[in-house]
Symmetry: C2
Subunit: 181 residues, 2 copies
């Protein structure tokens, strides 16, 4: 039998924050995560507008298309970006109007719309992506390499936890997710 050392430690160290059913720590963690996410997002949004007169949703959509040589369907993009189909339709409409994206029904299945970047779209994206990468690096520049690695790891663990909780709720069977985001 082991002596429950950790239990004793916990009793002493968590007095203020472990009242029955208290989860303030997770709440604070979530708020901090949200703060970071919002700060980055709005900074990138501002710079995209100022330097390229475009928006983050447009940039994100183009980034997806750029990664796929053969094109992507509306549904695939919507899943990747975690936004609704209708939203993809709307953002694509803007990009079509600007000649950055091409949309055409698939040959085998005419329900499906295949989206690709136009030559102009690829050029425009390349310019933006380069700057974008610099901006992100700049924003994280205050962290040591070891810290970014550790953070990346912990966010991977977090993602797994989230998928687990979300799947457990929707179906009875948790689906193991092995994607690379």
């Amino acid at each position: 039998m082991e002596i429950p050392v950790t239990a004793l430690l916990l009793d002493r160290e968590t007095k203020a924050s472990e009242r029955p059913g208290d989860h303030k720590d997770e709440l604070r963690l979530w708020l901090r995560l949200l703060t970071c996410s919002t700060l980055i997002e709005s900074e990138i949004r501002t710079r995209l507008r100022e330097e390229f007169k475009t928006t983050l949703p447009r940039f994100d959509l183009m980034a997806q298309l750029e990664k796929s040589t053969t094109g992507m369907t509306v549904g695939e993009v919507s899943q990747r970006l975690m936004v609704s189909n209708g939203n993809v339709t709307a953002v694509v409409a803007g990009l079509l109007a600007d000649g950055l994206v091409d949309k055409r029904p698939a040959a085998q299945d005419r329900r499906v719309q295949v989206l690709t970047l136009t030559a102009q779209g690829r050029r425009a994206f390349k310019a933006m992506a380069e700057r974008h990468e610099d901006w992100i690096a700049e924003l994280f520049a205050g962290l040591e390499p070891a810290e970014t690695a550790q953070l990346f790891h912990l966010l991977g663990r977090t993602k797994a936890s989230l998928h687990q909780a979300i799947n457990r709720r929707q179906s009875g069977q948790p689906t193991p997710t092995g994607d690379q985001t």
Copy 2:
């Protein structure tokens, strides 16, 4: 003179990812952070809609007001939530219509609108906040306490890095930020 040991190590260890000006690691970190944030946000959004027929912006706004006994101005709320003034005006309009929030000009400065929760608003918020806290705990349940603590710490470091980068860009002088989020 010191021997640049780290330079040698770097040369060997970072061959694939440290090409001149390559910052793919930070990019991946940002994408993962965004994924986590989006997953949590949309899950909370769904549950607020299903269980309370309300929305996340409304909940967030009420959460701010609940923390302040004396009320908050439109500007304060807008800063806290990191959204525009106009947006606060719009969300408050909805809450006013539902009788959850009270708005009145300040006595000393009639430009300022002071927002407070009504009694009904406080009741409604209390019920939601309790469930909300459980949801968040559930979402992070897959992490060990040591991991959440570590993650919280690293996100604090990240926040500092972000503020540093953002301030450096806007003014010449970085403003030290000591807030508690």
